[in-house]
């Protein structure tokens, strides 16, 4: 089963347990990669490379760039959790 199959066969609504939503090392790595990778892409300006002049307003470009910087900050925060700060963090083991 996957999240995509769940679109067509929706699971019964339920509250997730603490164990299911607990943080894990792969979750943290994924968040770090997504945050830093996506953030670098958005903040670098490559998003709007090759566009015609005037296609996108400046405020939108600045918003996307700022969002990219926020994503980098989030990625750095998640990447350092558990060993640089927030050292008493408890992780679940994936089975």
């Amino acid at each position: 089963m996957s999240n995509i199959i769940d679109i067509f066969v929706p699971p019964k609504p339920r509250d997730l347990s603490e164990d299911e939503t607990a943080d894990c090392v792969p979750c943290q790595m994924m968040a770090f990669l997504f945050g830093v990778g996506g953030g670098l892409y958005f903040s670098s300006g490559r998003v709007f490379k090759g566009e015609k002049i005037g296609d996108n307003p400046m405020w939108w470009k600045y918003t996307v760039r700022t969002g990219g910087l926020a994503m980098i900050a989030y990625g750095a925060y998640r990447g350092g959790q558990g060993w640089l700060w927030d050292k008493d963090r408890v992780y679940k083991r994936l089975q």
């Binding site: 999240n3 679109i7 339920r14 997504f34 089975q95």
Partner: protein, 156 residues
């Protein structure tokens, strides 16, 4: 409620969904662009035309599907982690973010419209899925057996 052990846990399922969606896109792209390349090629070169079209376009379709599936799964896991609940609203919110994220290059209006459209489409899918599930449950509902009428006289 016990944990669901029939599926991969969340960060793994993102890779799983990315690969599954990529494979689905490649297979669909092979069929689609194979037929298209075959039909658009002159007689005598139809087979090579179909193969060329598949080689050129099927990986692109697979990549597009894969990016959509991976992003959707990533947002779905994120929404689940934040809401701490599993229900159809997760997929709708994830679809909203996915549609928006994929359309950022098109500008503000394109992003907004794409996000809303994607959320609506996923809402329809979820609604149809739930309706179908309820219909199946109604069809398979337990029915009381018909008991023989013991009060009627059996003759004399």
């Amino acid at each position: 409620m016990s944990a669901d052990h029939t599926r991969d846990p969340c960060p793994i399922v993102i890779l799983n969904d990315f690969g599954g969606a990529f494979a689905m896109g490649v297979i669909g792209g092979c069929v689609w662009h194979g037929i298209k390349g075959f039909r658009n090629s002159p007689y005598g070169e139809r087979r090579i035309g179909a193969i060329s079209a598949i080689k050129a376009r099927a990986p692109v379709v697979g990549g597009n599907f894969g990016v959509w599936g991976g992003l959707f799964s990533l947002f779905d896991c994120s929404v689940k982690a934040v809401r701490k609940r599993e229900d159809p609203l997760n997929a709708i919110i994830a679809g909203f973010f996915t549609g928006g994220a994929l359309a950022i290059r098109g500008g503000w209006k394109h992003t907004r419209n794409s996000a809303i459209t994607c959320a609506c489409i996923l809402g329809v899918f979820e609604g149809v899925g739930m309706m179908f599930q309820r219909y199946m449950a109604w069809q398979n509902r337990p029915v009381a057996p018909i008991l023989p009428d013991s009060g009627s006289p059996m003759g004399a």
